[in-house]
């Protein structure tokens, strides 16, 4: 059963879509006379992405309540996502609870690589689907230990198109572009660079051997998304990794602060209630 909405279905298709209540106006043009039913028009105004969005909102509320900082990693296949994650979680796990959700069409090879570091990981095989959706993420959380005050990485399916449109409830989408791919890639796949808050230029150890203009890559990415942050890194040598880790730790601190503020507000509310009872006696 779905732990989020209580439905009996498991994830399938677009956000494991299943019916929920909606209020819509209806314009009936049919009549009640006998005979075959006459066609009528129904005004709908139904966003097909609404189902995914409601699961994403539920995930985000869960992450906020548990002060979990979540990043959704996006890139083409072969950009070095998993190698980068292995390095990042190996360093972060010493200081914070960390977990990983791996998305691939098939195999659990990536999960095995993460698990070897001792960090809990859950594999989602999307089968025919080309992206992760928020409903699947909600169910994946049921298989991971509590990581309150920690960092959750979601490694999306290697694909620079479809995952851009699916909110999973993350704090940030982070796109990885490796220097072996071409510095014009943001122009070719603008949606994903528009959706991301941060771009990691990976495999910079290979820069002497490839024609990749770092400045040009950043310039075109900022044409698409003027606010995108950039770190140049190498999962192999560890260059630049520290800056990215600091960015995540700052994000985690922010998530914890927001949780503290929410708890303080709740305490004040409860105190106010208590005080009002005292006055009556």
């Amino acid at each position: 059963m779905c732990g989020i909405c209580g439905c009996e279905k498991t994830a399938s298709g677009l956000g494991g879509y299943h019916p929920h209540d909606h209020v819509h106006s209806e314009v009936a043009e049919g009549s009640n006379t006998a005979g075959p039913p006459r066609a009528r028009m129904v005004q709908v105004e139904h966003d097909i992405m609404a189902a995914n969005q409601s699961y994403a909102d539920a995930n985000r509320a869960h992450f906020t309540e548990h002060a979990i900082f979540v990043i959704n990693l996006l890139s083409s296949p072969g950009s070095g996502k998993t190698s980068l994650l292995v390095e990042a979680v190996s360093l972060l796990k010493k200081r914070f609870p960390v977990a990983v959700i791996e998305g691939d069409q098939q195999t659990s090879l990536d999960t095995a690589r993460i698990s070897a570091t001792g960090v809990p990981a859950w594999q989602i095989n999307t089968g025919k689907a080309c992206h992760l959706d928020a409903h699947t993420i909600g169910h994946a959380l049921e298989h991971l230990p509590a990581i309150d005050g920690g960092i959750l990485f979601i490694e999306n399916v290697g694909n620079l198109v479809c995952p851009a449109g699916f909110d999973l409830g993350e704090a940030h989408k982070v796109v990885i572009l490796s220097v072996t791919e071409g510095d014009d890639k943001p122009l070719k796949y603008p949606n994903i660079f528009h959706a991301a808050d941060l771009m990691l230029l990976n495999k910079i150890d290979l820069l002497p051997y490839v024609r990749f203009d770092m400045n040009s890559a950043v310039e075109v990415a900022r044409q698409i998304n003027p606010k995108i942050g950039v770190f140049a890194i190498s999962a192999l040598t560890g260059d630049g990794l520290g800056a990215w880790l600091e960015w995540m730790i700052a994000g985690l601190d922010h998530a914890k602060e927001r949780r503290q503020m929410a708890l303080l507000a709740r305490r004040a509310e409860l105190q106010h209630e208590l005080d009002s009872i005292d006055l009556q006696f």
Binding site: G13, H24, H46, I48, C162, G165, N225
Partner: protein
């Protein structure tokens, strides 16, 4: 591939609407797709025919209305056309644009019995 998932979501949404609006067959679907939604309309048409087979929307006609993207240009202080992410403002060439419309994938209306 993305469009398969979208069409699956579309057919499931139609089945949900059948419950709430009390109809048994869908004959025609009007869909609104924004030009910034990263959706290939031809692929949606092709996949919808396949995904709808054997459902309440079997053989239904699909009408797609493509909606042009628009954005708010900060320097101009006005709404401008945006055909794809990364394009500059047609007036001032700035890329300080905030998307207003054109990312939707929405069922607008249905013809049903």
């Amino acid at each position: 591939m993305h469009e398969i998932a979208l069409c699956e979501g579309l057919v499931q949404a139609l089945e949900e609407q059948a419950g709430s609006h009390g109809f048994r067959r869908v004959h025609r679907v009007w869909l609104e797709i924004g030009s910034l939604a990263s959706v290939e309309c031809d692929a949606v048409r092709f996949n919808f025919d396949i995904m709808a087979r054997g459902t309440i929307a079997d053989n239904a006609q699909l009408d797609i209305m493509e909606i042009n993207g628009t954005a708010w240009c900060l320097p101009c202080g006005m709404a401008v056309d945006l055909h794809r992410f990364g394009d500059p403002c047609p007036n001032c060439d700035s890329r300080q644009l905030q998307v207003l419309d054109g990312t939707q994938i929405k069922i607008k209306k249905l013809e049903v019995t």
